[in-house]
Amino acid sequence: MTGVVGAVLEAWDELRVHKVRVLLALVGVAVAVCAITAISAAGEMLRQVSAEQNDRWNGRAATLQVSAWPTGEGGSVMPAPEEYERVFDEVVERYDVSYSSMLRNAPAPVRFPDGTREVYTTGVDVDWATMHRFEVASGRWFVDGDEDRLAPALVVNEAFLDALGGVPVAEHPTVTIGGDNPVVATVVGAFPNDWPDAEPQAYVLVSAQSAWVTPESLEMTGPPTLELWVPDALAEDLVAAIQRDVAGALSGVEANVYRSDAASYSVVDGAIRWVVLGVSVIALLLGGLGLVNIALVTVRYRIREIGIRRSFGASSGRIFFSVMMESVVATTVAGVLGVTVAVVALHNVPLDALMGSAVQDAPGFPFSAAVTGMLAAVGIGALAGLLPALVAVRVKVIDAIRY
């Protein structure tokens, strides 16, 4: 116990006495640690942001997109919406999928106070929010009972609310949608704009969408699709099976099932990770080399001191440990500095601007990145201290005292 504490105190004392030399040696290490921490943290944060966006746009792992377009061969026409609904329900039931949602984009004439505007409404099922990690900023998402409402429920973006005159969701603003057979819809929830100057946008339950969907609009936006959130391990098998089932159930269509979530692009993600890691390790090794260089020169300069310490009763093991600890303590201090600078720097990075869109859950500084930085600092300290420690142990005590 006292041996370890003594060695650490000795190392700290050595650093304190030679602080200028140590500082110079550690600048490289601190910068490298800062870089490795910042790069790894930034990568982690961007991955998190990117995952959030990917989940929002493409669904969570593993999300399967099922579509069935008419081939046009032999005069085939688009099956009726009810047909799609029936076939999709069969798929969900057959494979016992817990989370699924139909998806249908349809333009709708919305009567705002300043006039009627064409607004893209996205028809979804209740599960869609869970599948896409979608959260409203105010109000609520759809619930099962909303299908029975006479006035369809809407979840709209801020631009939509602004167009309505800025009425808060809590006041249950209503809006008239549709041309010949208009319906009055009630805004139940709102979410932030995806980007500045976003156009009004609204989510609505697929079942309620039929009030303003016309065959013409379907021709324009295409048939509804089905999203399934399935276990990652089963995704590949399900793609083939569902494709076969849908193609068999709907005549004259080309069934297409594919995986849309970001995890399917993990190969690219992995490559970026390795590149980032490689650059960081090289930066750290360069910093460590500088430290080894200065530490070796210092040991030569301190030969007499090492001899004196041997006369105090320091064993060769203790000398080895002490010299190595000097390096480790130094790089640990540099590591703390580097990680702190990285935390401060990344804390002030405008992720919104960096990602080009609003980030709902701005990720905090990843703890794993700080741990990585500190481990790298301690590791490079131990590595850089190894050679000087070996040199120090090989010093002949008698020569050292007479040095």
Partner: protein
């Protein structure tokens, strides 16, 4: 049982041309607890080598060295280091203070290798020891701001702070003027006596050597007891020059603090002023010739 006992200890090194250089030959020495012993000899006679062997910094190539009756050859390197830290305190000619550290930090340094109370209360113990050597008001002063005498006092405090059983002083006054050297030796004598530590000093200075209960001369690697009186003065070289071929043989047994200090049967050392053989002793061991020394073996 003696504290230290050397029997036929020899130390030799292999030269680059494969010749063997004998630095020490057949050294027999016994030191009891609390005894004061001095060893004189010219440069290159192996004094420092002997001190290094005594202090477990070096090992003999032949002979036996018993520490508390235990052959040091049986001790592992780690055990030797531990015994070096607990049993020996070193005082060097050039002080060998750690640069950049204050007087207090220098005295604390050996306590970093101690255990228990000595480790955890190291700053208090170091401050007390500096107080004892009269530097209580210079705790935070760095060595470069201290005079030579003050630096040596810090070195003495550092050597004694772990209350060693043996103080090994290598030319403790070599870098000091006569008056300061005398003060430093007074201090070393006093604290060593108070602590009950044995003091083994190697020196060129006969006045310093004469303080010891037993005196020895090391010449050509051979240790021989001599007697130097308290009235001796001048350097060893001057004494040898006036005395011709050597110093007066002594007993290596009696002195103010050593065994037989009040033993009337112990042979008396000659004193300064004795024209017949002033302070001069011939080595007990026959001359080993004057083979040229190729280096400073000490």
């Amino acid at each position: 049982m003696s504290l230290l006992e050397l029997s036929g200890v020899a130390r030799s090194v292999l030269l680059p041309d494969d010749r063997e250089l004998e630095i020490l030959r057949g050294i027999d020495l016994t030191v009891a607890a609390g005894e004061h012993v001095s060893i004189v000899g010219r440069s290159g006679t192996g004094k420092s080598t002997l001190l290094n062997i005594l202090g477990l910094l070096d090992t003999p190539t032949a002979g036996e060295y018993l520490l508390d009756g235990v052959p040091i050859g049986r001790l592992s390197g780690r055990a030797r280091a531990r015994r070096r830290g607990t049993d020996f305190g070193f005082v060097f000619q050039q002080f060998n203070l750690l640069q950049g550290r204050t007087a207090l930090e220098n005295v604390v340094a050996p306590l970093l290798y101690a255990r228990g109370r000595q480790f955890w209360q190291r700053r208090t113990l170091a401050a007390e020891m500096l107080e004892r050597v009269g530097l209580g008001d210079r705790l935070d002063t760095r060595p470069e701001k201290l005079s030579g005498g003050e630096q040596q006092r810090v070195a003495i405090a550092r050597a004694l702070v772990r209350v060693p059983r043996v103080i090994l002083a290598d030319e403790p006054t070599g870098a000091l003027d006569v008056d300061t050297g005398s003060e430093v030796m007074d201090l070393l004598d006093t604290i060593a006596r108070e602590n009950g530590s044995a003091l083994i000093a190697i020196t060129h200075d006969l006045a310093v050597a004469s303080r010891a209960a037993r005196q020895f001369r090391l010449a050509d690697g051979v240790l021989a007891p001599i007697a130097i009186s308290a009235r001796s003065a001048g350097s060893l070289a001057a004494l040898e020059a006036t005395s011709g071929d050597g110093l007066m043989p002594g007993t290596g047994g009696a002195g103010p603090y050593g065994p037989g200090a009040h033993d009337d049967t112990a042979p008396h050392a000659l004193e300064a002023g004795d024209d017949q053989a002033e302070h001069v002793a011939r080595p007990l061991v026959a001359s080993h010739g004057s083979s040229p020394r190729t280096g400073d073996a000490a």
